[in-house]
Amino acid sequence: MTTPTLRTSGGARRRAARSAWLFLLPFALLFLLMYLVPLGFAVVQSLFKLQRSGLGLSAPTLSFDPGFNYGRLLGDADFIASLGRVVLFGVVQVPIMLGLALFLALLIDSRSAKLKGFYRLAAFLPYAVPGVISAVMWSFLYSPVTSPVNNALQEAFGFTLPFFSDSWVLWSVANIVTWGWTGYNMLIIYSSLQTVPTEVIEAARLDGASSWRIAWSIKIPMVRPALILTTIFSIIGSAQLYNEPAVLQPLSGGSITKSFTPLMSAQAQAAAQNYPYAAAQAVVIAVLVGVLSITFFKITNRGDK
């Protein structure tokens, strides 16, 4: 009975492996061509030095000089400043957004809430609007010329808000991101809250625990995995900040520069045809984000075990 099974199992396993790879092949091929090859290509390109002749009469030449672009990057005050700006953005915006998302999820989950479906949907609806389209919409709400917010404030209280001023503009961008993503994060946390066993909450209540106490000591610890996940994704999201500031840039009156964020800076270099330098910036950004993701991944996995 067992012998024939054993004899055929090797062949069956080989056949199964072949079908598995056939199923994987189309995806794997495109993944290779659209992810790994471009990344490798960018690394190679970043090792070359682009030289334009003084008058721009002859074609620019490329020479192999691996340290050139990366050295230039270290001394590029605009690029360094853009990195610092994105870090500041993440440190402030991510806790505010996730705190708000957690707070709203707990409120909707609480026994006092009515119309739970409506509030969930209201918070989630901004996520349905593409990032750049919501940035276009907010640009009208911010613009000194068109802002209905400032119109109303001017009429009621006699002052306006300088959304595009140098000190405000980063937080105007943060507001657009918070508006768009709070509901998404809230839904993830809320779904996780639904898995907290009713019995545990009922037992705590019978012991006289207040709703705040239950939220703090039972619900929040139990949704920790969801909080960690949303934190990781939000931090990665901050590092790739591009759409919102890029849309506001031409309307900001100069407070958003062409190198406001690292990605904007790299894109501007590519648009100016400084391909090797743009490649170096892209490689540095990708490496930083990759290290960031993997570090968080490791830390959170270790914390769990």
Binding site: A16, A17, S19, A20, F23, L24, P26, F27, L30, F31, M34, Y35, P38, F41, A42, L100, L107, I108, R111, S112, Y119, L121, A123, L125, Y127, A128, V129, P130, V132, I133, S134, A135, V136, F140, T146, P148, N151, E155, W179, I188, S191, Q194, T198, R205, S211, P225, L229, T230, G237, V247, P250, L251, L263, A266, Y275, A278, A279, V289, G290, T300
Partner: protein, 308 residues
């Protein structure tokens, strides 16, 4: 409880909230919330709903006002109605370029999502249902790609397409958009959940080929999950901005996101501000309809991606 996106264990999506029993008990509950805390919760929730909905409400109001009144008081209330006049004026700009952009968006997102869903389903099914050498490595690479955002690959893609002469070609948008590591991840979770090994074994004994088993048995069983994957990918491609911005210079090839941002950045040179809002509103409608009518598919994707 594992916190992260490592090996997905099949967790069935909960059918009904166990919390619904609590509402039945509420009437008997001695320490139910006081009136103050109840009204406090409702007040805060209402405030949050105002924050999320007011900008959208403003956009709707501005879109239906006669052109030119968009930025007059009252900003948040009705002031005449000429929505259809606005749409007509919008479609006349530059020989109807707006419609062209919408059609481009639908084509890029539709084609990429259909092909992408099929590729993701095949790859996810293979990872969930076969044991083979390299499986762990393949899944590890896909997970890493889920964690590193696609935008990071956009600039390298641009440099590569520039070198091989594929700029200003719709393929430069579609080819990268077909690849969705997150789709493969979801397909893997769903295939493990919804396609029983016994069914596959039975079909093999009946002599069905592996391909036939996948298309005749696997695909129908994974169908709801495939809708979820399709939706996520469609929306992702529809929302994409940086890639089409960089690889498509020709205005007539651009999707609606790139087109509208171009208008908005022109400070009224290419289109009046009032009509840009109408365009933004129209471009959002298909997505909002998709979100509202297919809510349960979204939730399935969010739950599978986030919670285990």
């Amino acid at each position: 409880m594992s916190s992260t996106l490592t090996e997905p264990t099949p967790t069935p999506v909960p059918a009904a909230s166990p919390r619904s029993r609590a509402s039945a008990r509420r009437r008997l509950d001695p320490n139910r919330p006081s009136g103050v805390s109840r009204w406090g919760v409702i007040a805060i929730l209402t405030l949050s709903a105002v924050y999320f909905l007011l900008p959208l409400w403003w956009m709707v109001m501005a879109s239906i006002k006669p052109n030119g009144r968009q930025f007059e008081e009252p900003g948040l209330w009705f002031n005449g109605f000429d929505f259809f006049g606005n749409v007509k004026a919008l479609l006349e700009i530059n020989d109807g370029i707006f419609l062209r952009w919408m059609a481009n968006s639908i084509a890029y997102a539709g084609i990429s999502a259909v092909i992408g869903t099929l590729l993701s389903a095949m790859a996810g099914y293979a990872l969930a249902k076969y044991r083979f050498r390299g499986r762990g490595l393949a899944f590890g690479v896909i997970l890493a790609a889920v964690l590193i955002p696609k935008v990071m690959f956009t600039l390298p893609l641009f440099l590569m397409f520039n070198a091989v002469g594929l700029l200003n070609n719709p393929l430069a948008v579609i080819l990268p958009s077909v690849v969705s590591p997150f789709g493969v991840y979801l397909a893997r979770v769903f295939a493990a959940q919804s396609v029983p090994d016994e069914v596959i074994e039975a079909a093999r004994i009946d002599g069905a080929s592996e391909g036939k088993i996948f298309f005749r048995l696997g695909v129908p069983m994974m169908a709801p999950a495939l809708v979820t994957i399709f939706l996520f990918q469609f929306v992702e491609v529809w929302n994409n901005y940086l890639l089409p911005l960089m690889v498509l210079n020709d205005t007539s090839m651009q999707p609606v996101t790139v087109g509208l941002v171009g208008w908005a950045g022109s400070n009224g040179q290419q289109a009046p501000a009032g009509l840009i809002i109408v365009g933004a509103f129209l471009s959002v409608i298909p997505l909002v309809v998709a979100f509202l009518s297919l809510q349960r598919f979204w939730r399935a994707g969010l739950t599978a991606g986030a919670i285990k």
